[in-house]
């Protein structure tokens, strides 16, 4: 009996023993494989490649960053990538709001789990396939949108900036709907009743009561839509035509000039971290 109780007693008296036992394998993996790789990449960003030999030159330099930030073409890319990410975030919010309001405030409780499942399902459909679907939608001559607009003698947006914005909006929309829905569902009915008792119409209640209260949820959703858009490159390849984003620069340069690619790759990460630091104040991180 003593032999079997000893380990349990030991680990209950010394919880750190169990913590170490439980954590060592997964932490070794995440720290060595993942953090180690990220750190190596970050260090590489400050190295260069010898133009003649193609070998890594392991001396600290800011050359990659200065090359990036002095080249107008790259500055254009970063501005374009940011504007795409902002447009996608705003569009996601505009589209998510009616759906979330419908789910949280109009649909009956019985239907809510089904509606959540309906919003979640496309998230699990293959990312690549969803982008491919938009290639079929946006195809300039024989696409679904071109076909829909044909009777009005309008032409569709085709592949390009608008195509990227629409496709990314499609990809990340569920990430905005779900937190906003959760925020709206938590809203106490009494506050809304109070607002209407005081004479506010639906529009006024929405602006002055609903939006301020679900703001942290909106910001939480925007973290996903903004940062996922910022790092994307496959969408631009498939529906972007000649339009490129930051990710495309990384993807095309990493084979021959890894340090430069590493430097470019840190830019979206830094922007996302700055954004996260900014939204911490909105209390949005508790909603993630």
């Amino acid at each position: 009996m003593t032999t079997t109780t000893a380990p349990a007693g030991l680990s209950f008296r010394h919880p750190w023993l169990r913590i170490v036992g439980l954590l060592s394998a997964p932490l070794a993996w995440l720290v060595v494989v993942y953090l180690g790789s990220l750190a190596a990449l970050f260090v590489t960003a400050f190295w260069t490649v010898d133009d003649f030999t193609g070998q890594l030159v392991r001396t600290f330099t800011l050359a990659n960053f200065s090359e990036f930030f002095t080249n107008p073409a790259y500055l254009g890319t970063i501005a374009r990538t940011l504007s795409i990410a902002i447009c996608v975030t705003i569009l996601c919010l505009i589209l998510a709001m009616p759906v979330a309001l419908f789910m949280a405030r109009i649909a009956s409780h019985r239907w809510r789990p089904l509606l959540v499942a309906l919003v979640l399902t496309p998230l699990w459909a293959s990312y690549l396939v969803k982008v491919y679907a938009w290639r079929a939608m946006l195809q300039p001559e024989h696409g679904v949108i071109a076909w829909l607009l044909q009777p009005f003698h309008w032409s569709g947006p085709g592949y390009g900036y608008v195509g990227i914005v629409v496709t990314l909006t499609y990809l990340w929309l569920p990430y905005m709907i779900l937190p906003v829905y959760a925020g709206l569902a938590r809203l106490p009915q009494s506050l809304l009743d109070a607002s209407s008792d005081l004479g506010a119409g639906s529009g006024r209640t929405f602006r002055s009561v609903v939006v301020p209260l679900v703001w942290p949820s909106i910001v939480a959703g925007s973290v996903f839509t903004f940062s996922l858009s910022l790092g994307d490159y496959i969408t631009a390849q498939i529906v972007g035509g000649k339009v490129t984003m930051l990710g495309n620069v990384v993807q095309t340069t990493y084979v021959n000039n890894l340090p430069f690619a590493a430097a470019v790759a840190t830019i979206p990460v830094v922007i996302v971290l700055l954004y996260l630091a900014a939204v911490r104040r909105a209390g949005a991180l508790d909603q993630l």
Partner: protein, 268 residues
């Protein structure tokens, strides 16, 4: 909210439009896979089952499917072990660095795929002597841990610690308690986590591009390679439809295994 009838109707209509926006592209993929056209075009000039048959006879598609399944199974196995261990540690104990660890688990899917991709690519090619099937599995397992972890953690929090304490009071050791008490209670959450992890790995394209050895083709890689080849459109359409079906099924199965308040825990 006290909404007027008009507002309610307007919201219903808008929600229906957005619902169509979400589901029409997926429907187009399914319909296109039956199209007789050899290039991507809408509307299809006729419907046929021919390409489904051709796709299943396609050697490239079949081996890519097997590779995808194999990689997803192995990555899920690793993620199951590591994710469960992490969840047990973080769900039970409060210790210094706990917040940092939960952030670290999410990082592989929170950072842009291309950052994770080239970071792993750089280390694998410099220190492991190149990319292989193993590096691909390591890459996938790294971002799969989070879904298993989230599902397991949600279950452990619901469970509380009293049953384990009771088990220890009755004289069971840590391993016996895990085997006879904790694990059976966690099993359905782990099944849900494993299914979601499988789906995540099965669909992954960006990390795969950067960590798969030469010649290793998963289904998404196969689509990506054949996407721009005009004469391959019909088979690509079928594989795309197949991927939609295979990746949408798991969520229904996973839903059956998880509790209402844990739904969606795998992702958000």
């Amino acid at each position: 909210m006290t909404m007027t009838r008009g507002t309610k109707t307007l919201l219903c209509v808008l929600a229906a439009i957005v619902g169509a926006f979400i589901y029409v592209p997926l429907a187009i993929i399914l319909i296109n896979s039956f199209s007789v056209d050899r290039v991507l075009s809408w509307p299809p000039s006729g419907l046929t089952l021919e390409w489904w048959g051709k796709a299943f006879q396609n050697e490239g598609v079949r081996s890519a499917l097997l590779t995808s399944i194999g990689v997803a199974l192995l990555a899920t196995a690793v993620a199951l072990v590591l994710g469960t261990l992490l969840a047990l540690a973080l769900g039970r104990f409060d210790f210094f660095g706990r917040q940092a660890i939960s952030l670290l688990v999410v990082l592989p899917i929170a950072l842009p795929g291309i950052v994770t991709g080239i970071a792993l690519n750089n280390v694998f090619t410099s220190f492991l002597g190149g990319l292989t099937l193993l590096t691909l599995i390591i890459g996938h397992a790294t971002f799969c841990i989070v879904v298993v972890f989230n599902n397991a953690l949600a279950r452990i929090r619901r469970m509380g610690g009293s049953v384990q304490e009771a088990s220890a009071d009755l004289g069971a050791g840590a391993w016996t308690t895990f085997r006879l008490v904790t694990f059976p209670l966690m099993k359905s959450a782990l099944v849900a986590g494993a299914i979601l992890s499988f789906g995540l790995s099965f669909d992954e394209i960006i990390v795969t591009t950067f960590t798969a050895g030469p010649g290793i083709t998963t289904l998404p890689i196969w689509i990506y390679q054949n996407l721009f080849r005009p004469n391959q459109a019909p088979v690509v359409n079928v594989v795309a439809a197949l991927l939609v079906i295979i990746s949408v099924l798991p969520i229904y199965i996973a839903q059956r295994y998880s509790n209402t308040d844990e739904r969606g825990a795998g992702l958000l």
